[in-house]
Chain length 259, copies 2
């Protein structure tokens, strides 16, 4: 099966999951639990959307491995073979508090390289799709490459708590930009970079399911996507990420390297 | 003319201005100038949309005064009589860099009290309207009152630069919330509070045209809207604003009063 054919199939799942998520917003009695703290939530919809994707993958690709935020995963100790990475709802706090500004994401990696990826901006009904060698699309429109530009010509997505808790370098970085914008969903922040609405996204440590889908798309679009030290991302562990056009990326990495 | 009749008329202007703004986004050669610095921009559309509103107001209400961001204003030394307050594009930096996340706003004040107000979320094609005594609407739907709740149960909109540059109180405030979200448009941040997507919006000093429209709507919806010291807003000068439900507002004001 070609990557394109896998993407066609997976797009149907993503659309169906989006329908379920939009319908769920009228559910007045959604079950919500705290995970690590009051801003780290999980709902019954996180679990049921993940189960939905897992069922589809098991049905069509019984030999592929699965790595999901809500705990559905095979024993994965390296990135060899085919691995699906699922974040059923990215931005669950927004899903609960805002009923918007969340997304649903899946990606397929082959031997450590992203080959198919989806980020569904559910409320705007925009499905972003990356297919290795074919580009990145918003619905039917192919995204254009981002012109290289400096961080002082653009906006940045970065967590306020990260800026206040971390070093002077992070504050200097923020002051070098035109301003901060923050949606509160890693997937949607990455979409902002992919569509050049912000010039960079800088994070503290994120898990594979938060970043794999944007990582695939950013790479396909020619953006730089590394750890804050400029190293290759390792999806088997947590990573603090910098994603940006190559020029802005280099500027940001250089700052962090001075620390 | 009743407030309702004025609102019906002004809604047509707001709709027409929204059409012009959406059309302008395909203009590849938009003229952009810096005002005070690289993140404070004005475009030819700011000026032409303001001129459009001014023309409509002068035609229908020749005796009303006008106060506009782009310099169209009568000699206003007090808030007596009828005063229109215009922000043709709120979030001009987003308009230029993101082609989204901006709004267009006008409000009418009578003897210092907001009586009619519009915030047009142009890209989402959502027009928010407040009419004194009649409530606040998103298109045809009336907004519901916000349940009183604590800042630690919600998100906050606050500028990252403000958090990094100001006192420990501001950082403590941020840490008391579930997280920060920031669109980069005062009008749209206020819409987030009015629709309970964030629980509070806290600003540094803003001008009348940035806040008057949200001030009218927040008051109509029963939210608290004051300076950071808890004092009444004075639209003849700049104000650092706190807008929130009464409980969260009191918590925030109490923090700033300790400074």
């Amino acid at each position: 099966m070609t990557y394109g054919a896998i993407a066609e199939l997976a797009k149907q799942w993503v659309e169906e999951a989006g329908d379920l998520l939009r319908e769920s917003l009228s559910n007045q009695s959604l079950k919500i639990e705290e995970k690590t703290n009051a801003s780290d939530l999980v709902t019954e919809m996180d679990r049921s959307i993940e189960a939905f994707f897992v069922e589809k993958i098991r049905e069509h690709f019984p030999h592929h491995k699965i790595f999901g935020e809500e705990g559905t995963y095979d024993d994965i100790t390296d990135m060899s073979g085919f691995i699906w990475i699922i974040d059923p709802i990215d931005g669950t706090l927004n899903y609960v508090k805002q009923k918007s500004n969340f997304c649903s994401m899946i990606a397929l990696f082959e031997d450590g390289e992203g080959v198919v990826s989806f980020i569904n901006d559910v409320i705007n009904n925009d499905i972003y799709m990356g297919v290795k060698g074919h580009g990145v699309f918003r619905n039917d429109d192919q995204l254009k490459p981002i012109p290289d530009h400096s961080i002082n010509e653009g906006l940045i997505a970065i967590s306020t708590k990260m800026v206040t808790k971390e070093t002077a370098i992070t504050q200097e970085l923020v002051n070098d930009t035109l301003g901060v914008r923050l949606i509160g969903s890693a997937g949607l922040e990455m979409i902002q970079v992919l569509t050049n609405r912000v010039s960079a996204y800088v994070t503290n440590e994120l898990n594979a399911w938060d970043i794999a889908q944007g990582y695939m798309m950013a790479t396909e679009l020619g953006l730089s996507f590394t750890t804050r030290e400029g190293k290759a991302v390792n999806l088997l562990t947590k990573n603090p990420i910098v994603v940006a056009n190559p020029k802005a990326h280099q500027e940001i990495i250089s700052k962090f390297m001075k620390e």
